[in-house]
Amino acid sequence: MSVSQTTFHEALLDPSAAVPDGLLDAEDRPAGRRFSVYRNNVAVSLTEAMHQAFPVITRLLGPQNMDGLAGIFLRKHPPSSPLMMFYGEEFPAFLAGMEQLSHIGYLADVARLELALRRSYHAADSQGVAPDALALPPEEIVLAKLEFAPSMRVVRSDWPLFSIWRFNSEEDAPKPAPGAEDVLITRPDYDPAPHLMPKGGADWIAHVQAGHTIGEAFEHTSAEFPEFDLGATLALLLQGGAITSVTIERLAT
């Protein structure tokens, strides 16, 4: 009796499936509980990986609920690569689709933020420009094009995402108030840090990433967000080492 890896794999992920024939103990009796060691290793190690990957979700739901969710998630979405540090890419969509959790609408966004923090942690190293790199006359600043650090991440949300994250990660953080908050992640050295993004900042960054100058991006952004604070956005990026190059294309004279 040979046991294919397809059979083994199916029985591994389905706790109600029978132990495959052809697996034995030392006295040639069916392996029974011995097979459960593998079942258990897979479920426990992946559940543990989910706890580590999503600490704020775990805190919001409680560890036992997280165990239950992880148990369903890992069977639906086993890791697709051996890079366990990136496990859980599908978790935000999975959370959004859970009927029982629809009363906590912001969970998926919190999961996206936790994924973005991990992506930032493992992103390529880069050198931020000097803090005074943009200490230029205004007419030059508007012509500048910027490049951002690979570790910089933007997470948009219709929920007060930054406040929710902070309330569940820091002691004595204020209670979240209603309202939409985007989050900017910068990584000055090796530790990614989330910041509250100024209103419109996410749009402005997207315009700059699309190749627009600071000035063009500002015009696009303030058309929609008249209150957009360019100075505050640039300060956050500069302090976080998230701007890696400043190029100014001067007009030919």
Partner: protein, 285 residues
Amino acid sequence: MLDSSLRSNRLPAAPGVGYKPQHFDQILDHAHPVGWLEIHAENYMGDGGRPLAQLRHLSEQFPISVHGVGLSIGGEGPLDPDHLSRLKHLVGWLNPASFSEHLAWSTHDSHFLNDLLPLPNTDETLARVCEHIDQVQETVGRQMLLENPSSYLAFEESTWSEPDFLREIARRTGCGLLLDVNNVFVSATNLEFSPQGYIDAYPLENVHEIHLGGHDEDEDDHGRPLLIDSHGREVVDPVWALLDYVLDRSGPKPVLIEWDTDVPEWPILRAEAERAQAALDRIPA
């Protein structure tokens, strides 16, 4: 079959430990920490950040062993080309003292199961594993060491004993072997064979590294002992005794302490490494 010029294992015959980031400062502060460090390859396959910075730093002071846990050498399907090139990249820039993987499978239908799953010792497995090892050694450009598994059950279809199976793989591919002495003890208890008999049959001349780790104790459906390779505690006395048995026959080897779950404070891990040093010291030069 591997070109013999690529057999470059440079781990010292000294104790090493599995590296855990929480021990970074203590390892660097310690005057004589350990002879070498082992890392799990997959944890260092990001693009940058602290893990790689720490590894670059440690590699300036310690011989590093790259131990893969995700290649699925025994998988029925082809090896994952992306993962293979990530390994090639890591081994390429780090130029580690040793590179090893497991006689196991962990990926099926592009699902990675995060566990070392068992293989039947058949001619079919042998052919497949050898083909995969050839591919790994060709791609990565150096010899790999293959580690013996911990077994909780046996396959009815197996026709080879494990030591013969490993000897044949090493003969056909030119790979070296990593002998996990705790795994031998765990398998011998679970499948009721003599661990010394296993060592007597095992090709010690191909061993370039030894692993030691802690295991958990459980019972099967019939109340028989079922040991589980958890790497979550101290190495037990019978495994230290089995290490002595091995070293008496193999001579000095690099000996690694694996501790991957419930990772202890540095002094506890370091004490295990000292015990491995004592085991190495007692064999006549």
